[in-house]
């Protein structure tokens, strides 16, 4: 068996008498940065609370570094788990300075080591020298970084992050997610982030578990989630795209309104089967030299590129990426070509 830092087996959880997590299993490798991605209400926050030890299990087990933490019958108390957590509402202790906040979990450490650890972390989060400030004197992003440092200070075996960036503005959010990733990677702490924001998950995680209605749909790298989603839900949740009708022709090809499409892996459908083909805007690219044309019906300028909506001759409307300088007018015929590496096909 491969070594796992966090291992969750067949978990079942209830929140206010409603079963919201069922038959849930997940494991994280040491030093891995995992993410639970799902719409609000899918049970991901309750799961975090269960891992932290604030939530009773109905069934299943939670292990951390080969130590059994939770079963339905017994729970290691939160304070003895070696799990750290960063909260959505930051939850810094308002009556303590930054240094006191970060040192809060370092009970029993000698004074000199404690000071050293605090300074080390303040430097890591880029707030050196602010030891004596109070939380309310900092901006939201700074506060969240201090909360991270506080959770990391006692060197937990696992760090949980409960939508830690959702209170911040969009631009800061993406930047902080990558920044936190760098900090955690440098410290080598196994972590689990919970979020409903797909970009945040991509910025942060090594592997992402997409959750829906209390179970995992797919647990994979960001790249695979985007390019090889295992279900229509995952396909739509991690990025834009459209379904079009298609029919399986051979083991590796389908016929579609865009013609016969082929890739280099088996599709797993019998020839002749009616299927749905999922196409992302980056599968269809604008190319003035292409013979194949479509009518431009909508466009969204995104700065670095355009996102076009084009109608094919058959009436199907698809998203299409175009270079930033190609500023065509709506109603114009524009050339498009396909750039497909994987065919994403679902049963109809």
């Amino acid at each position: 068996m491969e070594t796992a830092a966090l291992m969750i087996r067949k978990l079942r959880l209830c929140y206010q008498d409603t079963r919201i997590v069922d038959d849930f299993s997940l494991s994280l490798k040491p030093q891995e940065l995992g993410c639970l991605l799902g719409p609000s209400g899918c049970g991901k926050s309750t799961l975090l609370r269960a891992i932290a030890g604030f939530q009773e299990l109905l069934d299943g087990e939670i292990w951390l570094d080969n130590q059994l933490l939770s079963t339905p019958h017994q729970r290691v108390l939160p304070e003895h788990r070696g799990v750290g957590m960063v909260f959505q509402d930051i939850a810094l202790f308002p009556h303590l300075t930054l240094a006191e906040n970060i040192a809060f979990g370092l009970t029993g450490w000698p004074e000199s080591q404690r000071t050293q650890r605090v300074n080390e972390l303040l430097e890591l989060i880029g707030l050196s020298g602010l030891n004596q400030r109070y939380p309310h004197e900092l901006s939201g992003g700074q506060q969240q970084r201090v909360a991270l440092a506080r959770a990391m200070a006692p060197k937990p075996k696992l760090l949980l992050l409960d939508e830690p960036f959702s209170g911040l503005d969009t631009e800061l959010r993406g930047r902080l997610a990558s920044e936190v990733r760098t900090i955690l990677k440098s410290d080598g702490i196994c972590s689990l982030l919970v979020t409903h924001d797909q970009r945040e998950a991509f910025d942060f995680a090594d592997r992402i578990a997409v959750m829906h209605q209390g179970h995992i749909c797919q647990f994979d790298t960001p790249f695979n989630l985007y390019h090889e989603p295992s279900s229509p839900f995952v396909a739509h949740f991690v990025g834009p795209g459209e379904m079009i009708e298609a029919r399986v022709e051979g083991a590796r090809s389908v016929s579609s309104p865009l013609g016969l499409l082929t890739n280099d892996k088996d599709l797993g459908f019998a020839p002749g089967a009616e299927v749905q083909l999922f196409l992302r805007p980056d599968d269809l690219i604008h190319d003035d030299n292409s013979d194949y044309t479509a009518t431009l019906v909508g466009k969204h300028f995104r700065g670095a590129h355009h996102l076009y909506e084009v109608r094919l001759d058959h009436g199907v409307v698809l998203g299409c990426l175009a270079p930033s300088h190609h500023d065509h007018a709506i109603g114009e015929k524009v050339g498009v070509s396909l750039d497909i590496e994987h065919l994403v096909v679902f049963p109809k």
């Binding site: 604030f54 108390l77 939160p78 304070e79 750290g84 957590m85 509402d89 939850a91 959770a151 006692p154």
Partner: protein
């Protein structure tokens, strides 16, 4: 569990009182119904209507001026306007009666100046229903002022500017935006004032206005009719509960209007000339008659006429009683709040809401509701112990226990309210952070909650302390024989027409009562 017990405690007087509705009617009740009930109801209604008008007239214009205009003295007036809150209405009544007495300074001066009788008569007749309404309005308008001011200041400047951009004049913006948006807050403040009016005993009793509260006491003591008193109490309770419901619903609408938009203060208009004088006058008048004038008179009396010797023991016993009772109340409140936090359930929630009704109970009703079951208990116990040669005695009623219990019923909400708001600022994630950083549940309380809610515990203690010090009817009815407090002493001296001697106990109550008002003002302005 604790909350359920506490809820039952609060419910006990209410249930006892209400249970008499089904026990049938006494002879005295029929008599009451024929002769006095109509008068009680009419007087209470008239008084409430007058006070409601009075507090709006005094409170809203002042709040308006303070919120929307800059003028000389605005800063100091904005908090001076709160000071009448320190006064119990009955002390104001004693003071004005003393001043406006036939031989008092005002009327003596008027006679010397040959003032016409039509000018002197209304002053002489201060001891009347309109007089009581004026006294109550003068001490209760700060509720309206405070809530209206908060509502005015919470309104976003953006909204008003949006209205100006749509071509509306200043006065139309006022009538169509500002006033409608503040209306729920004004209504809530007025309802609070009316609730206090219905609960008032000291003022109406002194002025000889027959309302529900004086009726209850008279039925109980005068006619010795427990059932009648309880049934009158139930009627009063019904009125109060309707008001509570109205108040809650108007308050729930208040919330919609506070958001995080730009606040109004920056846009206020600077006044000068006669406009400034009008604004100053609107703010000075309530302060002057509600606080400065009566306090000046009380100080003068206390300084030149009163002898202080006998007061020391009175102050000590009052402070001891209030201190001990508020400690007890805050302890119980802490238990309830923690039960709610650690083991939340819908059951607990209902129980807590029920506990919240305590403050709306008039002191007279609480006293009767405590006296009836405690008296029954005493009689039962005496009966039980008689065979053993134990003399019949008042085991509970007429002891400090009964009084403490009544205070607990009446003022528990004050404490839970303060503590809940304090604890709610300590979000669950703070607790969880503490746990994950190695603290036990007790450790979380000791190292995080204690420092974080210390302020609200102190506030709760202070507010309870002052409320108990001011409380008159329950203390009067339930106190042990010969046990005196400042409030009771002031009442007794006033009853003996020794109004000047009542000045010292009155002043003590007011001076202590100022502390939470100042505290309140600080917390309001900090927000």
């Amino acid at each position: 569990m604790t909350t359920v017990v506490a809820a039952l405690c609060v419910a006990l007087p209410v249930l006892v009182v209400a249970s008499f509705v089904i026990t049938g009617v006494s002879d005295a009740w029929n008599h009451l119904l024929e002769t006095l009930l109509g008068r009680y109801a009419l007087n209470s209604l008239l008084l409430s209507a007058m006070v409601a008008t009075g507090v709006v007239i005094l409170g809203v214009p002042a709040a308006w001026m303070i919120s929307f205009y800059r003028f000389k003295g605005r800063g100091i007036l904005s908090w001076l306007l709160l000071l009448p809150m320190a006064y119990p209405a009955y002390i104001l009544a004693y003071t004005y009666t003393g001043v406006l007495d036939y031989s008092g300074p005002v009327l003596t001066a008027m006679r010397e100046l040959n003032a016409p009788t039509w000018a002197m008569d209304p002053l002489l007749n201060i001891r009347s229903l309109p007089g009581a309404a004026i006294m109550l309005s003068l001490v209760l308008y700060p509720y309206v002022y405070l809530l209206a001011r908060a509502a005015f200041m919470d309104q976003s400047a953006n909204l008003m500017e949006a209205a100006y951009m749509l071509g509306q004049s200043r006065s139309r913006v006022f009538m169509r935006i500002v006033i409608p948006m503040a209306r729920p807050a004004i209504a809530a403040g007025t309802l609070l004032a009316v609730m206090e009016t219905l609960a008032d005993f000291g003022t109406v009793q002194f002025f000889g206005v027959q309302t529900f509260t004086t009726g209850i006491v008279r039925t109980y003591y005068g006619f010795g009719d427990t059932v009648g008193a309880a049934q009158l109490s139930t009627l009063l309770l019904c009125c109060v509960f309707f008001l509570v419901i109205f108040e809650k619903s108007s308050r729930s609408r208040v919330r919609y209007y506070s958001d995080r938009l730009r606040k109004l203060n920056q846009t206020s208009v600077t006044l000068s000339g006669w406009r400034q004088s009008v604004a100053q006058l609107l703010c000075v008048l309530p302060v002057c008659f509600g606080f400065l004038l009566p306090t000046g008179i009380l100080l003068y009396w206390a300084f030149f006429f009163a002898e202080l010797q006998s007061m020391w023991s009175l102050i000590v016993s009052s402070f001891f009683l209030a201190g001990f009772a508020s400690l007890l109340i805050v302890c119980v409140a802490l238990l309830i709040c923690y039960a709610n936090r650690l083991y939340p359930s819908t059951w607990l929630n209902y129980a807590t809401t029920f506990v919240g009704l305590g403050y709306a109970l008039p002191g007279v009703v609480v006293a009767i509701g405590v006296l009836i079951p405690f008296g029954a208990f005493d009689r039962g116990l005496s009966e039980l112990l008689r065979p053993f040669g134990v003399e019949p005695s008042l085991w509970l009623s007429g002891t400090l226990i009964a009084l403490m219990f009544a205070y607990l019923v009446r003022f528990l909400t004050v404490a839970t309210g303060n503590l809940t708001s304090g604890l709610s600022r300590v979000r669950p994630s703070i607790d969880q952070s503490g746990r994950l950083l190695g603290l036990s549940q007790m450790g979380v309380i000791r190292k995080l909650h204690v420092p974080l809610i210390r302020g609200s515990v102190l506030t709760a203690l202070l507010v309870c302390f002052v409320d108990i010090l001011k409380e008159l009817p329950a203390t009067l009815i339930l106190r042990p024989f010969d046990f005196n407090t400042l409030a009771v002493k002031a009442y007794e001296l006033a009853g003996d027409e020794r109004l000047i001697d009542a000045a010292v106990p009155s002043l003590c109550i007011i001076l202590v009562g100022l502390l939470p008002v100042i505290w309140l003002n600080r917390s309001v302005t900090r927000e």
